[in-house]
């Protein structure tokens, strides 16, 4: 769906993007991760043709990015903005028309979404009279009103209470089911684990890793096992720092180059193995670890 090759952008002496490559497959939720100021917003703005890159190419559906692609993208920026004095209905109509919908199409779509999210009663209210969460919903609908095949959401859950965040999350998943490709830029790792199929991580203008969540988790697993032993036959080696709990001993062991089966055999000599489980890193741990290691290196 979206392919980026060797994209560079700098503001004066500051590099915002350095040789960034990205490949977003069709129909996935793609997480774009990175600390503040890493270059995520610049990347998103380039995809949205708000600014131009200095060098490198962006392809959408195999075609070099061109003005006509604007209508294929729905963009929800991190900093939300609506006309405070405009009514909900007029506002949605304006955004839909700017994305190329005819007035008839736009009206049908707006009606559909207002009903779906139970907002029909607000349609004649001005934005300034709505709560923040309500305004966020209006903004979300305005973003997806033209059925874009590519949706770019920058921190979509900020400003929502848990109930509404859930509603939005389900809408995103439903859109994905219908074939929409979603690029999700966020700091909230729990939503990344829940929603994303692929991720890419950007730090200090460079892409530092990418891949599917499964692949990343296996690549970055620490090769450490968490073990529980019962009915101890002999004393444990002193370097295995364990915690005793009513006759059960809990501790973690690194593989240290061994195979898991060998480690298990070794453990069985000490007693009954009631738990032998590999530690899986959370995306958050991978994120923090990678950011730190690129910053130190």
């Amino acid at each position: 769906m979206l392919k980026i090759e060797k994209l560079n952008k700098s503001y004066g002496v500051n590099k915002a993007l350095t040789d960034v490559d990205l490949n977003v497959s069709e129909g996935v939720v793609f997480g774009l991760l990175g600390p503040n100021g890493a270059g995520k917003t610049t990347l998103i703005r380039i995809i949205n043709q708000i600014i131009d890159g200095d060098s490198g190419e962006v392809y959408i559906g195999g075609e070099l990015l061109a003005p006509k692609h604007i209508e294929l993208i729905g963009y929800l920026p991190e900093e939300r903005g609506l006309y405070k004095k405009m009514k909900v209905w007029d506002q949605m109509l304006y955004f839909a028309r700017l994305k190329g919908l005819s007035p008839q199409e736009a009206k049908i779509k707006i009606k559909y979404w207002l009903e779906k999210l139970e907002m029909e009663t607000w349609k004649d209210k001005k934005i300034e009279d709505l709560s923040k969460g309500m305004a966020q919903k209006v903004q979300f609908i305005s973003t997806i009103i033209h059925n874009p095949p590519l949706l770019i959401l920058d921190e979509p859950f900020s400003g929502f209470d848990p109930v509404n965040a859930e509603i939005i999350k389900n809408e995103i998943l439903e859109l994905k089911e219908k074939g929409t490709t979603v690029i999700l830029s966020t700091h909230r790792m729990e939503s990344v684990e829940l929603l994303c199929d692929q991720v890419a991580m950007i730090n200090r203008s460079k892409k530092i890793l990418d891949g599917t969540i499964k692949k990343l988790k296996s690549t970055y697993r620490p090769e450490v096992y968490s073990v529980t032993l019962d009915q101890l036959k002999k004393d444990l080696p002193t370097e295995w720092i364990s915690k005793e709990d009513e006759g059960s001993f809990n501790f973690t062991l690194p593989l240290s180059g061994k195979k898991p089966n060998d480690l298990l055999n070794e453990l069985m000599q000490y007693g009954q193995v009631s738990r032998f489980q590999e530690l899986i890193p959370s995306m958050e741990e991978i994120f923090i670890h990678q950011v730190k290691s690129t910053e130190n290196g």
């Binding site: 949205n48 004095k85 304006y94 973003t143």
Partner: protein, 436 residues
């Protein structure tokens, strides 16, 4: 193009629908005639109700006679200064005019005592009468009968006729031309300022509320800027049109209602009878009609519309650029100077040079340079301008407008996405030079 049209519609509709637009549009033309009407009414009332003011005149020369009017009566006496002043202090007399014995060659020492400051019109009435009498006296003393002077006095009114290349003669009148240039120039000046500011406010609103990021993901910043400028121009033209219709109707009603007793005329007569007479003679209805029919209305109206829009577009783009560079209206001040100075130069130039001497070199340059031409040229058009000068000025205005829009577009494109930094002129220059 479709998208610009959408922006134009939104800018236009959202402003015209506002209650404040309706109020300002309807009340402004009501306010001016209303204020005028109230003034006229008060002046008329005052004149009717005013008690006769008696002025004590002590003329040590026994030479002068002042005719009493509806407002003022003059009582001549030989009272001493002290006694006369006492009368004023006691409120028995409105004022006391003391004419001490003086040398007829060099009259001095005439004083007016009053409990309050006398009006301009009273003082000039007194001065005129005394001067006339002294002049007559001096003529008489040098052996000329004042009567002869009166008989010899002649009124001359020059009818000014302009000749064009084909020999067509048009009667013109500088006063009418002056008025047309004056009104047109001021209207353009006000329009640029008021609506230029609206453009700036609109841009700042979109920038600070971050809508702009969504907008520019749907259309080019340049389209957004142009749409806004044109949409607001539409609002301005609508307002102007409503005002013209309303003011026209109201003035007709007000003047019709109050009749022709305009107090200015009376005040003028009291102050300067000769001038008033002269005016009355010059403003012969037939002549006025002749002058009015001699004006090239089509040219004036077309140039007005052209300069009205051209000037607005030229400055509108600059106002948009300023709005895009700052985060809040209060920050805009530092960039306003380069925009306001040429406007004020044009405005001052209109009064100091153009309207007084439309064909001077300064007037020529003011009316040709794009930054000042929208205002200055209107002052010349009503007097008649060589067609090549008009074409040059219009051509340069189009070039100027394209240039400022291009420059503004470059600043706007980057400025609207910049937050938290206060740009300097240097950064703006950098933005203009940046290609993407």
């Amino acid at each position: 193009m479709d998208k610009i049209w959408l922006v134009i519609q939104r800018e236009y509709v959202s402003r015209v629908k506002k209650k404040s637009f309706l109020l300002v549009t309807l009340l402004t033309p009501l306010i001016f005639p209303a204020i005028m009407g109230v003034f006229v009414w008060i002046a008329l009332e005052e004149e009717d109700n005013q008690a006769l003011r008696i002025i004590e005149v002590v003329d040590d020369n026994k030479l002068f006679f002042l005719e009493s009017s509806e407002q003022y009566a003059f009582s001549f006496s030989d009272l001493s200064s002290e006694k006369a002043k006492k009368l004023v202090q006691d409120g028995d007399r409105y004022g006391f005019l003391h004419i001490p014995e003086f040398d007829i060659e060099d009259p001095s020492g005439i004083s007016f005592y009053g409990e309050e400051n006398p009006s301009m019109s009273l003082i000039s009435y007194l001065e005129n009468n005394l001067r006339k009498k002294i002049e007559e006296q001096r003529l008489f003393e040098s052996g000329i009968d004042p009567k002869i002077i009166n008989d010899v006095r002649t009124k001359v009114a020059i009818k000014s006729i302009t000749l064009d290349d084909e020999g067509t003669e048009t009667v013109s009148d500088a006063t009418v031309n002056y008025a047309i240039g004056f009104v047109a120039g001021i209207l353009i000046y006000m329009f640029i300022f008021i609506y230029g500011n609206q453009i700036m406010q609109g841009v700042i609103e979109e920038k600070s509320s971050r809508i702009v990021e969504i907008l520019v993901s749907s259309l080019k910043p340049f389209q957004l800027m142009l749409g806004k400028i044109i949409g607001i121009a539409g609002v301005g033209l609508t307002q102007l049109l409503i005002w013209i219709v309303l003011i026209g109707t109201l003035t007709t009603i007000v003047t019709g209602f109050l009749g022709m007793q305009m107090p200015q005329q009376q005040a003028m007569e009291l102050a300067n009878p000769e001038l008033a007479q002269g005016l009355a003679q010059n403003t012969d209805m037939g002549d006025i009609l002749l002058v009015l029919s001699g004006i090239n209305y089509i040219q004036i109206v077309l140039s007005f519309v052209f300069y009205f829009l051209g000037g607005y577009l030229l400055y509108g783009a600059l106002f948009a650029a300023i709005g895009s560079a700052v985060d809040a209206p209060s920050d805009a001040q530092q960039f306003m100077l380069p925009v306001t100075i040429p406007l004020i130069v044009a405005y001052m130039g209109l009064f100091v040079f153009v309207l007084n001497d439309p064909n001077s070199t300064t007037s020529f340059w003011l009316s040709v340079v794009p930054l000042t031409s929208p205002i200055a040229m209107m002052g010349r058009v009503s007097y008649g301008v060589p067609i090549w000068e008009l074409m040059l000025s219009m051509g340069l205005l189009i070039v100027g407008f394209l240039f400022t829009t291009w420059v503004a577009g470059k600043i706007y494109r980057i400025g609207i996405l910049m937050h938290g930094t206060k740009p300097s002129y240097k950064t703006l220059w950098k933005w203009i030079k940046t290609n993407n």
